[in-house]
Symmetry: C2
Subunit: 205 residues, 2 copies
């Protein structure tokens, strides 16, 4: 089986090469402007080969999308040590913002870009799971907050969505350069300051 094994390994290696090239090109130029030919050029193969490893450009998108979620989840894992759910919630926001602004192109892929994202609707995607996913962690943290008496009178799903949306709104306005105008003087800190204002509000709930 050594030959078959090697073949499998080689195939896996080329898959990874394609993804690595796609990822780096994507970080340089963005998803839209990264072409199949760009990727092929970088790994010294012809454009056609990529279609033997991925159905189309969107499948590459999907692979990077999944990568992004598992990275975000990894960053969230360290928060397991924070016992106080309210403190944990705040820390999650901070980490989320950090992740989004430091990996804005991947965040773009995950939450902003429009794409034939059938798989995004796939609820079985692990990133959404209660146990393993980043969003499950958010929901269950907020649940714990409610168990402690916070967010009284609120529906779990609604408040979860609202909190997510607030943080997403801030970072996505920043990423898509819509913050420059409302506060032309202090663009850099606007997300941080907006988040601080949000925390001040959450503290009262």
């Amino acid at each position: 089986m050594t030959i078959a094994d090697r073949k499998v390994r080689e195939k896996e290696e080329l898959t990874q090469q394609i993804l690595a090239a796609a990822r780096s090109l994507f970080l340089e130029k963005g998803f839209e402007k990264t072409s199949i030919r760009n990727i092929a050029d970088r790994i010294d193969y012809s454009p056609g080969i990529i279609y033997h490893y991925f159905k189309d450009k969107n499948e590459i998108f999907h692979a990077l999308h999944t990568e992004g979620f598992s990275e975000l989840r990894k960053k969230m894992e360290v928060l397991a040590v924070v016992e106080n759910p309210m403190e944990r919630l705040k820390a999650m926001g901070k980490i989320y913002i950090q992740f989004a602004l430091k990996n804005s192109d991947i965040y773009d892929l995950m939450f902003i870009i429009e794409a034939p994202i059938d798989h995004v609707k796939d609820s079985s995607d692990p990133c959404w799971n209660e146990g393993s996913g980043a969003f499950g962690a958010l929901r269950s943290t907020i649940k714990s907050c409610m168990d402690q008496g916070h967010f009284e009178g609120h529906h779990l799903e609604h408040i979860t969505f609202m909190i997510w949306a607030t943080v997403h709104g801030m970072v996505s306005l920043q990423i898509r350069k819509r913050t420059d105008i409302i506060t032309p003087e202090e663009v850099d800190g606007i997300v941080d300051n907006g988040f601080k204002a949000f925390l001040k509000i959450l503290d009262k709930l």
Copy 2:
């Protein structure tokens, strides 16, 4: 001058024709998938002619972008009658959400799409003005709220950004189809419910 006048009129008419075709195609297929040739086909001209009326595709984008802002401003104008600033703020949110969800492609253009939007950074764009723009209205309404004692301890710019981001976050997640997963059972009402939760919070501030 009648001939020169007619020429000017004709030129203006073709400009409007191009914009009308672009707008309708754009609403059908989205900005990215609307091509210069599509627009030219629809008005029975050759593709080249468009470049005599607009510098490039982005200038068409710009024109529609500006249109969108003046429409939003128009919808906001009716709120001048609402005396209570807190009530006015809530009504603004409702109208903003309505506008975004009913004109999601234009909203896309205004706040989500990535584009060489040099003009978006142009702070002189009337849509941002204190007096005439939609954002000025938001800011000054929140200022009035603060004058009445709301949002105590908050910085005007920060709370304005945060409130805007919250509403933007909700509609943009909806528009880009990221809501299906967190609440697969109730997608339709999630923005409304999230907004209601937000209002409940604002009421306490």
